[in-house]
Amino acid sequence: MSVLRQGYVIGPIIGVIWVFVAAVTVAVAMSFATGDAFRPSALYSLIVGAPLGVACLGAARGQLILAAGCAGFVLLMLLGIGPVLTEDVGVMGKIIAGLVLGLAVCWPLLAFLKEAHKGEMTRHIFEDAVIRFLTGFGYVFFTAIVFIPFYVMVMTSFKNQSELIQNPLDFSLDLSKGWDLFRSYTELFADFNFGTYLLNSMFISVMAVFITLLFSVPGAYAVARLRFKGQAMMSRSILLIYMVPIIVLALPIYIAFSMTGLRNTIIGILLIYPVTTIPVALYMLQGYFRGLPAEIEEAGLMDGLSRLAVIWKITLPLSLPALASVSLYVFMIAWNEFLLAFMLLDDPSKFTLTRGIASLNSSEIPRQHLMAGSVVATVPIMVLFLGLERFMTKGLTAGSVKG
């Protein structure tokens, strides 16, 4: 280990790996943005990264290295060598790629190695440098893996079939098309009934939230506050119920609904959805109710309120944040639910959004429609979630919730 702690060893190692990571990132980003051919090179990363790593070791004049790095990478790009290789890319593209690469390599590298020095380091300094490097790598890695699928989803919906097949990497938008960019969206709403699906999904999700709250608030209160035989067993079996896989239930439900004519009706869906969400809601709420001080409720009881009045006038107003997060969570489950809608709905006028997207998945329908449908289903839940993220994260962790 002490060999690793030598500045001349760890500096070049981090330098080489980081240059390669940055090169891959810049190449992928530039490819996705312009559709041109950018390619990272492991060999050049080695050649460039090792001396750069040494140069950054405890560097006092960071700005100088940064400026020199940027200029150097632009020069390398223009010469056609360096960690990112190009084919048929214009001068402008090369300069931009070089600048971005220079920043992406030098700035983090300086930060990683600012406390490191030449010669042997203490364990503390050494591990700090490694951790900073891992952190930088982590940010790039996570942002990329989360961002890319959604980027592909949105950008594909603005393209058309021939463009997509011609160059699958070209996600640049042709802004001269103007409103025509949104063609797949207008077609979805005009020809594929997505307006109806959107309304159906809205209606079903909102109703599911109401029914779930109606059932789970009294139930959660009983489990959390009232003393009765079987209370402990009850709070455990709630958990057990939401571990039962939906597919196991879906089969008999399908049979029963076929026999009673509830298949293909929104009523039927509304009978099922809340039951899948009630146990989750009940579990989250009872956790919250337990945390509320019982003394306030007892004071209410002493002052002559009945139990139900206590719930209505004291407990519920106090647990508004919990109700918000439970509602949000139930809404999300109902909105995203796919399996039951897929099995139980065949009539296009009753489709939910997820079922509607599934119906777009055929070889006759171009894929930009499929992606536009996905965007239509994703955007409302994302907006809602980002707006109320505070409640969501709190509620999720407080109630420990299903996936």
């Binding site: 196991v248 009630i278 399996l339 962790t397 420990s400 996936g403």
Partner: protein
């Protein structure tokens, strides 16, 4: 002097409280019983019965009425058919109203005419058979009568033995699913998917939590962004992955070819070992946010004094993580492991949407769907569901053993 004793047994107040509790729980309990317990019992029932999708409609007689021939040969014909090919229908009867203006000249055996009401007792119809009743008749205006006679629909009734409700049981379904290598292959795939998916999601989630366990500008935005995979509808992200990794026009393949990693396009979701790895990676990608959220919440509740003390004592960052953070996180990690293990084991939509269970990615849950709907063998599907449920019960026993020690869950 009598001694004052506390009341023994349940007091009226306690009784009232218990009654209220059950009253408040009643709606939930009823609905859960109807939608969870009843279907579970039904699954057990069906798993012992060799039935297919077509047996869901019980065998019943079907009738077609027509007025045929003319003058001497004019007759009403009832063609009663058994809807099922192999189940017999017993006690078949037929009732119809004969319009005025149509006179029946003779009645076949088993039929009686009361005013305008015709009633026939046909008896037993074997599976796949049909019975023709020809009743000679006279009418003045044939075309008008034809419309009238065929306008009034005859009513047929019959008793059939539905395989769903009778009391014959067999182990055919279980013999069928345990027979051959297929089941063990499916079980192996399920275990790989579950174990790797769970550990992967936990590991990646832990890494993400370590990244965000410090306050800096934009931390909120990053946290929101990292939760996206979990919040987005599964169908939307699954199709995005399919399009991203498409073998013919997917960006991932174009990128890999351009970078010289591979010469030919890779069929990510269509080749045997690769497809399973891909669906597992998808599972990790989709559910790391959940573990990340829980681990982060636990991390932020750890006291910072401890780390300062460790710093004073000269512990290096990795030592602090290994000897201080990890032991504190072990509780939430083990609970998350068990929960995620159970839920990954139960997961259906993801694999169904990505590969449909092809290319060696058929897990137990996908097998339920395959057996019941693709092969139309509901009995076998139910048998697989029962196997899943029994596995689940086993896991739950473990879960409750651990969870009872962990507070907060």
């Amino acid at each position: 002097m009598t001694q004052v004793l506390p009341p023994t047994g349940t007091t009226p107040l306690a009784k009232r409280e218990a009654r209220l509790a059950w009253g408040l729980l009643a709606p939930t309990l009823t609905s859960v019983a109807l939608v969870v317990v009843l279907p579970l019992l039904a699954i057990f029932w069906i798993s012992f019965k060799p039935i297919g999708l077509s047996d869901l409609r019980p065998a019943a007689p079907v009738v077609r009425e027509s007025l045929r021939g003319s003058d001497e040969n004019m007759r009403i014909e009832y063609r009663v058919r058994n809807s099922s090919q192999d189940t017999e229908v017993t006690e078949v009867t037929l009732a119809d109203t004969i319009p005025s203006g149509l006179t029946l000249r003779a009645l076949p055996d088993g039929c009686s005419l009361d005013g305008a009401a015709l009633f026939c007792d046909i008896g037993t119809l074997e599976g796949g058979y049909n019975e023709r009743l020809r009743i000679p008749a006279t009418a003045a205006d044939k075309d008008a009568m034809e419309a009238l006679a065929e306008g009034s629909a005859p009513i047929v009734t019959g008793e059939s033995d539905s395989i769903l409700t009778n009391f014959e049981f067999s182990f055919v379904n279980f013999a069928r699913i345990f027979d051959g290598d297929e089941f063990w292959g499916v079980l192996g795939v399920t275990m790989f998917y579950t174990v790797v998916g769970t550990i992967g999601a936990l590991g990646v989630g832990l890494f993400a939590a370590l990244l965000l366990d410090k306050s800096f500008k934009g931390q909120g935005i990053l946290r929101g962004l990292y939760l996206f995979p979990y919040v987005a509808p599964v169908i939307a992200v699954a199709f995005s992955w399919l399009i991203l990794f498409d073998p013919f026009s997917g960006s991932a393949n174009a990128l890999l070819i351009q970078m010289g990693v591979t010469d030919d396009a890779i069929n990510f979701f269509g080749e045997k070992p690769l497809a399973l790895i891909m669906v597992t990676v998808f599972e990790i990608w989709r559910y790391f946010p959940l573990s990340f959220l829980f681990i982060l919440a636990r991390m932020q509740s750890i006291d910072t004094d401890m780390y300062e003390a460790a710093d004073m004592d000269g512990a290096s960052p990795f030592q602090q993580f290994w000897y201080l953070s990890l032991p504190q996180l072990l509780g939430i990690l083990s609970v998350l492991f068990l929960l995620r293990f159970i839920w990954t084991f139960n997961k259906f939509d993801d694999i169904f949407l990505l590969t449909g269970g092809n290319a060696g990615t058929r897990t137990l849950t996908v097998n339920v769907y395959e057996q019941a709907f693709a092969v139309s063998n509901i009995g076998a599907g139910a048998a697989v569901a029962v196997v899943i449920f029994l596995c689940l019960l086993t896991f739950s026993v473990f879960f409750f053993k651990y969870v009872s020690r962990e507070e907060g869950l």
